[in-house]
Symmetry: C2
Subunit: 435 residues, 2 copies
């Protein structure tokens, strides 16, 4: 009964190996369930001499990705090499050859989605990308298909496991940032070059993809506010704890009543009582609120060989079913030419602000006066319980502020920074209410 | 661009109204996203004179469901009347007319799925049933499509909101069962006839559907172990709390290494530290473990007008896309003629057992001796902290038992029940370890 389709893999690293293993291990189950068979026909690798797992199908290897795309026995192209240059060429070539694409490349789609989705549409050939966001969690399919009848009111996610692990270790074990990063690298939770993970861009790319699906327009990454965890310090984590919060690298996507989309990624304070606060280690979670479905949460392994392979294989089967039948290509297509991403200055939340001040009488009064002038309310002020250097001339002073626009806060903080008693740039965290 | 498909609704109660409202409210969004339009053409109702929401399309009403199925403008039939008799006739008639079916009727599919899935396959016409399990949570699509590459190792769910609400109120507010049920009815969380909710069968029907999807064979409901919450008492909830657990109506589906499927629904003790313990109120959650994806959790609103409508609308769009294109019908088909559901006697967990004993020296020794004879280990014994009637001749005595087969436990408890010092049938709860 079942039709067999040929796969071409570009990339046989961690995820590629996982895909090959999963397709081997569960071959029968997959064809029983889906009534299609998939068979790897050709694999492009960078380095033929690299050591591979036992039994790896090295006879299918080539160093020329064009051979893979051009191979007549290849019906579906799976791009797993990462990056946005060669990967772009592979995906584009496959679409032009009318071969459906499966990819987990969030950077590629977030940075160059406009061209690729347009090409996908022109060629009537889908791009599947479940593995691009939150590894083994089927969040793409959920937003795209299961919530198709919903106006998506918000999506709030912890979708970078590396950052989440580092923040957890800083919180629970009191490690410093560098120490926690080194540990994460030793455990394989962070790459040798962790830049995109810790600077927030890996998470932001995923959030951009989710927002594109939810709101139907291509989002320019340059318009998106992104901050990473590199400058998070133990003192702020400790203050967070004391005030009933925990620090998480959070992606927030929120549709305002006027249709404007708020979209930002940064380390934020979230209430310890919120379910997202217990998403630990390398796990990911995305809370989605739809106008019909209400609040939902999707939780699971956000990275790693097997969870990512799980999503790649699901996409391969979907692509294969589409090919086995006729014409039902369900690739994503932006349905709005443009949309409005809210300027970060216009977004508003409550805030935590820490000032490094001279330890003298009247400091709080001076800062409070500037805040009052700006119309920013103070929810509370706090100083450290145990100052490390009790005799120091400088002290950390925390202000918890009521909701105001970020732009107003920035201007006001500049004025406060200019005060003689304030010794360095204030440290700001948003306090997320999470509805 | 977009093709328009006609819908026939059978049923315009709570969910039917929600589907109509959602399709109205988000019509443009849905057609933008899916490139299909759906339009309600005909609605079968039981009672023409019943009052309806303002603007309801009463001009489409008929009391004859056959008119709906036969209507030439109806491409897709949506069954929302519930029950397993007329609903069966409607679904069967639609399939015979090659009209795809969308239904949220878990009882129908769990009880009569064999005939309906066979007919669906014969007619090459799909049945979509996302709304049948866990309301607005896309768990059907997740298991069927997103986890297609996974051997499903286990699914553990809280999938009856009524029971969950009642147990929560008994736990947090100390209400008795009857009191909590009445409250749930007043709040609209329980129906006037709550039988299927509180006796466990609503949850069991959903678990049967999930297991059928995961393992590919039709499961005979008669082979499934189901206990409801009607006999849960405050004393056991209090003991659970004291011992670090919480009582939840839990569906457990588990594939053993030999391919046998464990499938049971009952109120169980789960650790307070497990994320499922914090699923409160009418929320549902399903934890799924796949051999590739690892641990995942899906959480959301398990019932109610809008969440259920969200899933019905997602299915309508999927059916419409299938119809708009050609032949890509992705209905579920059991792929195994049969499978093996483990006899409940062979399942094993640790247990909590409460005995009503005569308050005299030597009782624990007598009970412990019988357990020892059977080779059942005792993890601890507990008596109430504050006996309500300190002078009573009878007292409750709790034994926490190590893992053993349920069959052995039952036999052994019969022997203990025969002791003179034991005054009534022991109360048993499983203690779920939840990996």
């Amino acid at each position: 009964m079942s039709k067999t389709l040929g796969l071409g893999l570009a990339g046989f690293g961690t995820v590629g190996t996982g895909v090959w293993e999963t397709l081997q291990r569960n071959a029968e189950l997959i064809s029983d369930r889906s009534e299609v068979r998939v068979d790897i026909k050709r694999i492009a690798v960078r380095d033929m001499s690299k050591s591979r797992p036992e039994g790896a199908p090295t006879e299918l290897f080539t160093t020329d990705w064009q051979e893979v795309v051009a191979d007549d026995s290849v019906d579906i192209v799976v791009e797993l090499i990462g990056g946005t240059t060669t990967a772009f060429d592979i995906v584009a070539a496959a679409l032009k050859a009318k071969k459906p694409v499966v990819t987990g490349n969030k950077a590629l789609l977030a940075e160059r989605g406009q061209e690729l989705f347009a090409l996908s549409h022109e060629m009537n050939t889908p791009i599947h990308f479940e593995a691009a966001v939150a590894g083994g969690i089927p969040i793409i399919k959920t937003v795209q298909d299961s919530f198709v009848g919903n106006r998506i009111q918000s999506m709030v996610g912890i979708i970078n496991g590396t950052s989440n692990y580092i923040l957890e270790r800083m919180t629970d074990a009191g490690l410093g940032y560098e120490e926690a990063l080194t540990e994460a690298q030793q455990l394989g939770y962070a790459e040798a070059d962790p830049t995109l993970d810790v600077n927030g861009w890996d998470a932001a790319h995923k959030a951009i993809l989710l927002a594109t699906l939810a709101y139907g327009f291509i989002i320019d990454p340059e318009k998106v506010y992104v901050r990473g965890i590199e400058r998070v310090r133990g003192i702020d984590i400790d203050f967070a704890k004391r005030l009933g919060f925990v620090v998480k690298l959070l992606c927030v996507v929120h549709e305002h009543p006027d249709g404007t989309i708020e979209l930002r990624t940064q380390p934020s304070f979230i209430p310890q009582s919120h379910v997202l606060s217990s998403v630990n280690g390398v796990f990911n979670a995305v809370a989605v609120r739809g106008d019909a479905a209400g609040e939902s949460l999707f939780y699971g392994r956000g990275a790693g060989k097997d969870p990512t392979a799980s999503s790649v294989v699901a996409d391969i089967v979907e692509a294969a079913r589409g090919e086995a039948h006729d014409g039902s290509h369900r690739g994503f297509l932006p349905y709005q030419d443009s949309g409005h991403v809210m300027a970060i200055e216009d977004t508003e939340t409550p805030y935590y602000v820490r000032f490094d001040v001279t330890d003298e009488t009247g400091v709080i009064a001076k800062i409070a006066a500037v805040l009052a002038d700006a119309g920013i309310g103070i929810a509370g002020t706090h100083s450290p319980v145990n100052a490390e250097e009790p005799d120091a001339d400088f002290v950390d002073m925390v202000f918890q502020l009521h909701t105001c626009k970020f732009g107003l806060l920035k201007e006001t903080l500049k004025k406060i920074e200019a005060l003689n008693c304030v010794n360095s740039r204030p440290v700001v965290f948003r306090i997320e209410s999470l509805g």
